[in-house]
């Protein structure tokens, strides 16, 4: 049976025959590196994934699995650039409102059925449907699909969504407003196709290993909740002949130190490096300890709403506190994992973003401290009238270390009295969301590789703007950016406004800090979103 299907497939795919021949020699077809006999990639995940249903999944570890099991219209390559997935390409209309994707005819589901445009239509309607109640309905709205908001609100039927199957291999998508990064959004799990017949047959149980049918390079073969999930090569995948990794195992290990021990014992190919251990590990294992920039920021936000302290309404106070933070100490001595210091809200690693040359970034720390003292005195705070406030963060050892360092810096340099308070995660979110705080920790990871995913957070209308910062000029720049051809100068200007007004204190930008077995080939360190595909990895013979 298997040989039969393989033979049929190779007959269909004349191009893949060459690649198949190269693989038979057990060397990588492009790099020529010798390949290991056992092509199993095993990695650690912090927590059990929420789901492997593409329209429902909402966490990173779940999305990683879904990206292997399902294939969307477009994929990302090692640098995060768009490459064809199920779609061989797309055309966009002159008004940038209609996209037409051409799907490859050879794409099939793991049960042999062809992947058609209707599978995408079904999936996208499903994602928007209030009946499924996916937490990622907002993503369908974010995509600006025609009628998306009305469907989510229950005012229209899901069938009204702006997506149509012109024929089996042509998908038409209609937007309500132009969205420069729309094609990138088709690499997100929410937009992956779903097998209608299987979903309807098994209902919520369709993602169980015994039921699931998928169209990606892998199929789910085993799932032991809170322990492991296993995905194995999908022989039916259209590009199967170019897939090298046979099996991918995700092990749930909650404790990062235990995970590191198990990595050392050879049970894992990849694990996270616990905070502070990177310098030691990179010295002992220079080939294995790696660090690269990620699309996430770490900041403290002032409460600028009516319930916030009067002192923070003075820009000089905000600037003084931001200036007095010695980011070098936090990055080098506390985190020590190669994280970049942050002087802008948006990480410099974001595509098409040029950080402005802000005044603060160019100064020495001594000058910053001196200026901070001056500004604070101007605002009327000093030894006679010390500034005092409470800063909150969610309970975690790493956040506590940063908070203690910040409060000490402010105490020593400015005589400011910042009291620390930590809260359990859900309580923290609730309090911060209701503006029951003075200064609060925040962090954000980009949903897509574009500066607006960060800058939108401080839009006065944004639901994520917990500090309630409001600036018309800033909002206007973001509005303009939605339709502009060149967004780079607009985003740079927006960051300049933030640097001048300092509604948040950027502390650092995240880095991916891993122990990665040196026999893992082609890990996409340059993909700042860390959207990795197991089908592009390989194991080198040791």
């Amino acid at each position: 049976m298997r040989t039969f299907t393989r033979a049929t497939l190779s007959a269909l795919l004349s191009t893949s025959i060459l690649a198949g021949a190269a693989l038979a020699q057990d060397t990588h077809p492009e790099t020529g590196e010798p390949l290991a006999a056992d092509q199993t990639f095993t990695y650690r995940v912090l927590d059990e994934h929420s789901s492997v249903d593409p329209q429902v999944v909402e966490d990173v570890s779940g999305s990683e699995i879904v990206r292997d099991l399902f294939e969307g219209l477009m994929n990302q390559d090692e640098d995060g650039e768009l490459v064809p997935g199920v779609a061989t390409g797309y055309e966009v209309s002159d008004d940038k409102l209609t996209y037409t994707f051409t799907l490859r005819p050879e794409a099939v589901w793991s049960n042999g059925d062809p992947v058609t445009a209707n599978d995408f239509v079904f999936a996208w309607r499903r994602a928007a449907d209030p009946a499924l109640a996916s937490p990622y309905q907002w993503f369908i709205e974010l995509m600006s699909l025609e009628n998306a908001s009305e469907i989510v609100a229950g005012d229209m039927a899901p069938e009204e969504l702006g997506v149509t199957a012109i024929d089996d291999h042509t998908l038409e998508v209609r937007l309500t407003s132009p969205l420069p990064y729309f094609p990138f959004m088709t690499t997100h799990a929410t937009t992956f196709p779903a097998p209608q017949s299987v979903v309807e047959e098994f209902g919520a149980n369709w993602t169980k290993p015994e039921n699931i049918v998928s169209n990606g390079a892998y199929v789910l073969t085993e799932h032991l909740p809170n322990e492991r999930s296993v995905r194995e090569r999908n022989e039916m995948y259209w590009d199967n002949d170019n897939t090298i990794i046979d099996k991918v195992v995700a092990l749930v290990i909650n404790d990062e130190n235990v995970a590191l021990t198990r990595y050392m014992a050879g049970e894992l190919d990849r694990t996270e490096v616990p905070a502070g251990q990177f310098p030691r590990l990179s010295e002992e294992y220079p080939d294995e300890a790696i660090s690269f920039p990620r699309l996430c920021n770490y900041y403290y936000t002032f409460n600028l709403s009516d319930s916030g302290p009067e002192a923070f309404k003075d820009v000089n106070v905000r600037k003084a506190l931001a200036l007095a933070v010695d980011r070098k100490i936090i990055v080098e001595n506390i985190l020590a994992g190669g994280q970049p210091e942050a002087y802008t809200f948006t990480p410099a690693a974001v595509a098409g973003f040029e950080p402005p040359a802000t005044e603060m970034a160019g100064m020495s720390q001594a000058d910053r401290d001196a200026m901070a003292l001056e500004l604070l005195a101007e605002a009327g705070y000093g030894p006679d009238n010390p500034l005092s406030f409470e800063m909150v963060y969610n309970t975690s050892e790493a956040h506590q270390k940063v908070a203690v360092a910040l409060s000490q810096m402010w105490k020593q340099k400015l005589g400011v009295d910042a009291q620390l308070a930590n809260m359990e995660w859900k309580v923290f979110l609730e309090e911060r969301g209701n503006q029951n705080f003075e200064l609060a920790r925040g962090a954000w990871c980009g949903d897509y590789n574009e500066a607006s995913t960060f800058l939108d957070l401080l839009d006065s209308a944004s639901g994520y703007n917990d500090g309630k910062y409001a600036n018309e000029a800033y909002d206007k720049l973001l509005e303009d950016a939605k339709t502009a051809d060149d967004t780079t100068p607009l985003y740079t200007e927006a960051e300049q406004i933030l640097a001048a007004e300092m509604p948040v204190i950027p502390i650092y930008h995240y880095a991916g800090v891993y122990m990665m077995d040196s026999d893992v080939g082609n890990w996409p360190v340059n993909n700042v979103e860390q959207n990795w595909y197991s089908k592009n990895l390989y194991k080198i013979a040791e």
Partner: protein
């Protein structure tokens, strides 16, 4: 006796009901809900989700629906966090795992603990006594969250004998470390309680009488001393059995065993109401049954107790 058991089981029903109601309201008073997230959901999306899980209903209605579903369909509802699974699923998958290593740890702790305690008492003030006491204290001083990492470092990294975690259907290699980590501190306690109880029993009149009759030491200990010695141990063991199951969160955390302990704690942190309530009911029911079993064991060990 049968009437007593039936009566106790009937009392369990209102007890569990009270437990559910109290947990339900406590749970809802905790700030934040299952769908509070760093990325606040747009109100229309949140409304859809709450409607799907019935969270838009008044609390009393939610509680009523929850209880009727359990009674009529034995359905504990969907997990709010793990969208592909429901509570019945989660318990059916996690509880056998917790029960397996929990029972093994319980047996290991009881057998080794009681043996150590008895050995220490009958060889009172000899090197065996000192050895058993030191071992007991050491075991007691090593809670499972310390034992876990130490064991993994020793057996996985340095010696390379055992896999560092996982379950794999409960093969013995995967069981060794969880069982040791979970049992040691209870083992120490059991040894200490057994030893002091045995010392007391050995000094009592009926033992002196037994000895005076000329019975061999072995018979005195096994037939006459052991049963009364174990009475205080039994009353300690009852709660321990429930503890090894509920307290197994550290084992799940360090050894990725996939048991229920980890699901329980994380359901509280993520406000996964249905899982939290479901596991609470399970553990509540278990406590009731174990307490009853302890009381019945009393009657067997102590002829003075009759129901």
């Amino acid at each position: 006796m049968t009437a007593y058991i039936i009566r106790r089981l009937l009392i369990a029903i209102p007890t569990l009901l009270l437990l559910v109601v109290a947990s339900f309201f406590l749970m809802h008073t905790a700030p934040g809900g299952p769908f509070t997230s760093e990325r606040p959901l747009p109100p229309e999306v949140l409304a859809n989700i709450e409607a799907r899980y019935g969270l838009d209903q008044p609390l009393w209605k939610q509680l009523w629906d929850y209880l009727t579903n359990i009674v009529l369909h034995f359905d504990f509802g969907p997990s709010f966090r793990f969208k592909d699974r429901d509570v019945n699923d989660i318990i059916a998958q996690g509880f056998p795992i917790s029960l397996t290593y929990g029972s093994l740890a319980f047996i290991a702790a009881s057998v080794v603990g009681i043996s150590l305690g008895v050995a220490a008492a009958i060889r009172h003030n000899t090197w065996i006594d000192y050895f058993a006491v030191s071992l007991g204290i050491a075991a007691q001083a090593l809670p499972n969250f310390i034992m876990g990492p130490i064991l993994i470092l020793t057996f996985t990294l340095w010696l390379g004998w055992l896999p560092g975690g996982g379950w794999n259907g409960g093969q013995w290699q995967y069981l060794v470390m969880p069982v040791i980590a979970l049992s040691t501190s209870y083992m120490g306690n059991i040894a200490r309680i057994t030893r002091s109880s045995m010392l007391e029993v050995m000094n009592s009149n009926f033992i002196r009488t037994a000895r005076a009759k000329g019975l061999p030491a072995r018979t005195v200990i096994w037939r006459h001393a052991l049963k009364p010695t174990l009475l205080p141990v039994i009353s300690y063991l009852g709660p321990v059995f429930v503890y090894v199951l509920t307290g197994s969160v550290f084992v799940d955390l360090y050894f990725s065993t996939g048991g229920l302990g980890q699901s329980y704690v994380s359901s509280a942190l993520t406000r996964d109401y249905a899982v939290l309530l479901g596991v609470t009911i399970l553990y509540g029911g278990l406590t009731v049954v174990v307490n009853l079993a302890t009381d019945l064991a009393y009657a067997w060990f102590d002829p003075k107790i009759r129901y």
